[in-house]
Amino acid sequence: MKGIAEFALDLALNRGASYADVRVAYVKSQAISTKDMEVACVSEGDGFGLGIRVLVNGGWGFSVAGKLTRESVGKAVEAAIEAGAISAKCMDMPVQLVPEPAYNCRYISPHTIDPFTVSIDEKTGILIACAKLAKKARRVKLVEGEMQFSKEEKLFMSTAGSCIEQTVISSGFGFDAHAQKGNEEFQQRSFPNSGGQYELAGFEVIAKWNPFEHAERIGQEAAALVTAPICPQKNTAIILAGNQLALQIHESCGHACELDRLVGASEEANYAGASFLTPNRLKRYRYGSEIVNLVSDPNVPGSLGSMPFDDEGVQTKKVHLIENGIFSGYLTSRETAHKLGMEYSVGSMRAESCACMPLIRMGNVSLEPGDAGSLEDLIADTRDGILFDTVKCWSIDSMRLNFQFSTEIAWEIKKGKRTRIFKDPSYGGITHRFWKSCDAICGPEELIYWGVPNCGKGQPVQTIGTAHGCPPARFRNVGVGVAMSRR
């Protein structure tokens, strides 16, 4: 890999690039899905390629080689140089980058069991056993299961002298139980989260989550939802379970702090949008209550968004996005950091694959634990409220202000106890008002890094995995039941 990457960099410099970086990757993947007690699909994949990014006269160009031959890579370099030169003619100001040291290092994400050494039978057996348990509930009509594993070996080299090798293994799984009363409406419950739970780990992640212990309960909850009352429309205290709070953080903090949304009218104005967290608000704007600390830390072992180096060779750094409730930092690239007058980038550039140009993306954006104890302690401390669990539907405006979420299930809380369940629960609000209403966060014993494998951004859309560590938390006076109102 290194030889062909060096060839690409040398050629780029010879053709007039002032800077170039190359990513060469080999990716192996496996996807398994089951439908009730049958194996529906087993698919494996391998992919490789080289992506070259160049700066020519201050303009970005990018191209991809599908084969690692000198001929194929040479053509890609020429295409990237041509694209960069054209870019430069369509810009008033050339791109400038904050400095970054050169690195020569190697990283392998922690894992115990290489998922590709485990038999397909063992994997499908787990999903089928979960389906059997979930289907014990009378109204459960269908259980779908899924496992996905990938191993990416990636080399980053740049004309600044970096040579970074990263091997990342990710594993994930999940299952959904669909219940129906006769031919009437259906409801769904999922475990560990809708869309599954994904971690930078090996096959051991499955045993860690112990799906057999939860499958029967998930089936029962799906069945119970079919006849449950709908979530009422009112203002009340809400507790968000960690799997839902993760997405709340993702949408209302992670994306809102991506600096490319704040450069001028936003570099993502046509699709992903902008953000209300403008640079003039940095270090002074009250985003949340004093107990709210939201941190980007791309170096959490096992968490899906971890990456010691980003896709432009920057060593990633921990940064407070919100500190004691005050908006405090951004996720950056070398280019946007320069535009904001920063001395360095915190390292947030990521690409879906080496065939894509990197964008500013969150890795692990997490809520620091508080002192409210366990989830059961927090429920006991809540006189009147609703507990929301497991992501179902999400939406937020293009400035990251007006949001609305639905979860698969909710429990009414009365006098400190979970009582009846509600179907179709939803809540909504305005980001800064919502986070200011946060009055309790559970302790470190409830901290889980929830993997969100399907974050989309860019044109064409790039999908990557992110993660959010968060214990459950409580928010006061929130509008609930807003989505299904007939009014």
Partner: protein, 462 residues
């Protein structure tokens, strides 16, 4: 292995497929299917009146290898199309199939060439002029858009992309198809101090995508919506431009609702309702790649020719699109909408056509005493699959209509609305056009619509 422009040629596709099929047959697989695809879609992204990314890929070739051994199937995706690579992929797929347990869904036998695999009608999807769009042309287009923005003291952001694709499928029963296409896309947002406007077009023909016209539309919307006011949440008469129609209705055809699998599993909102009138009299929806405004591949992922399928006729739910497995369960013949196999969902509609009417957008506005016009929707998502309730925000051109005129811009609003309710409250339809949106992965032929009692549940700050 690649042609002069680095894309796979028809001849190369045939050669790779023939080799892999022959190799598979020689290694005891009872069925081998190879699907090849390649594209070179190049993209120029711009923002803040400058080019921000310029991506010039040369090829993106990959193969899907499916083998059937004793009724079980193994599936491999690979980017290594060399002889050694294809041999290895076939061997791996056979190993997967052999190692599958008794619990595995039995594979349908591969499709044999027959009447239903023959081309029904040619669909033009390839434009040579689109293949000539190079880096210089992309730069010229982006520059012209930026000039319009600057002239109007606005900021342009967006994307201009173009490229070609090739898809081929062949199997050990003797089936073979190969189709080429092109795609040109231009999407533009113009931003001012307090407002923005957006326009987008996607087509296989370059001369059907007019970046200057799109830029001017986006400018007009941005200027017209300056200093927007807030409307109270509530129910309003709403006029949807075609892109907004697409942004909403894509939730009907993007999931399971019009699929055989959805009907069989009971997860379609129309399950058990075939033959029943669920939507308004004026709603007719088809999947029809042969519609004059549609384009794309005329064969599905197993090689069956796509059929026109009427999904809703004057509000009455019709039979869904079906793959071979669904057709076996539901009765009837497969419709040529099979997904790549193996898959938990057997089929999906892809060339949607919603029949239009003869009320122009201008007439809809002129006949509206008080209402809201939507250019596009943003971050739409499904709240409830049973009643097809979706939520989302308005964006980049939301206008108050008063006394038959576009009065002024409105601050954006959140909607929560059942699509079934929407399609029972359509009071006027305009001529259907090939619409492009940002919420839907595929375009569709849809009309502008005027809808009564559209529910907005909250507002936002801008």
């Amino acid at each position: 292995m690649k042609g002069g422009n680095n894309m796979l040629t028809r001849k190369q596709c045939k050669s790779v497929i023939d080799y892999a099929v022959k190799y598979g047959e020689s290694t005891c697989a009872s069925g081998v299917e190879i699907a090849l695809s390649d594209d070179n879609q190049a993209t120029a992204r711009f923002a803040n009146n400058g080019m921000t990314q310029h991506i010039s890929p040369l090829s993106n070739a990959c193969a899907a290898v499916r083998v059937i051994v004793n009724g079980r199937q193994g599936h491999i995706l690979t980017e290594d199309l060399t002889k050694a690579g294809m041999r290895q992929s076939v061997d791996c797929a056979i190993a997967i199939a052999r190692n599958l347990s008794d619990a595995t869904t039995r594979a349908m036998p591969l499709v044999r060439p027959n009447k239903r695999t023959q081309a029904l009608q040619r669909v033009k999807s390839f434009d040579r002029s689109a293949t000539t769009i190079d880096a210089t042309e992309r730069g010229r287009v982006v520059k012209s858009i930026i000039e319009i923005a600057k002239k109007n003291k606005l900021t342009a952001a967006g994307v201009f992309s173009a490229g070609e694709d090739i898809n081929a499928i062949g199997n050990s029963k003797g089936l073979y198809h190969c189709e080429r296409g092109t795609e040109v896309e231009c999407s533009i947002t113009m931003t001012g101090g307090s407002s923005s406007g957006w326009a987008k077009s996607t087509h296989w023909q370059y001369d059907q995508v007019d970046p200057i016209k799109l830029a001017e539309i986006a400018v007009r919307k941005a200027k017209l919506s300056r200093n927007p006011i807030t409307m109270r949440p509530g129910r309003y008469t709403v006029i949807l431009e075609p892109s907004a129609t697409l942004d909403l209705l894509c939730f009907l055809w993007g999931g399971l609702d019009f699929t055989g699998t959805g009907h069989i599993d009971g997860l379609s909102c129309f399950a058990g309702k075939i033959g029943i009138k669920v939507l308004g009299d004026n709603i007719t929806i088809s999947d029809n790649v042969y519609h004059p405004f549609q384009y794309g591949n005329t064969f599905d992922e197993e090689g069956l020719s796509r059929r026109k399928v009427v999904l809703v006729k004057n509000g009455i739910i019709q039979r869904p699109v079906m793959g071979r497995r669904s057709a076996k369960t539901m009765g009837g013949l497969p419709t040529g909408h099979c997904t790549e196999q193996p898959n938990v969902v057997d089929e999906c509609p892809i060339n949607l056509v919603v029949e239009g009417g003869d009320t122009s957008l201008e007439d809809m506005i002129a006949s509206t005493e008080r209402g809201i016009l939507l250019t596009r929707a943003w971050y739409t998502n499904e709240v409830d699959a049973n009643e097809k309730v979706i939520t989302g925000m308005t964006r980049d051109g939301t206008f108050l209509v008063e006394n038959g005129k576009l009065k002024r811009g409105l601050k954006n609003m959140r909607f929560n609305i059942s699509l079934i309710e929407v399609l029972n409250n359509v009071v006027a339809l305009g001529p259907a056009v090939l619409a492009a949106g940002e919420e839907s992965a595929i375009g569709a032929v849809v009309p502008p619509m005027k809808i009564e009692r559209f529910r907005f549940s909250s507002t936002t700050h801008f």
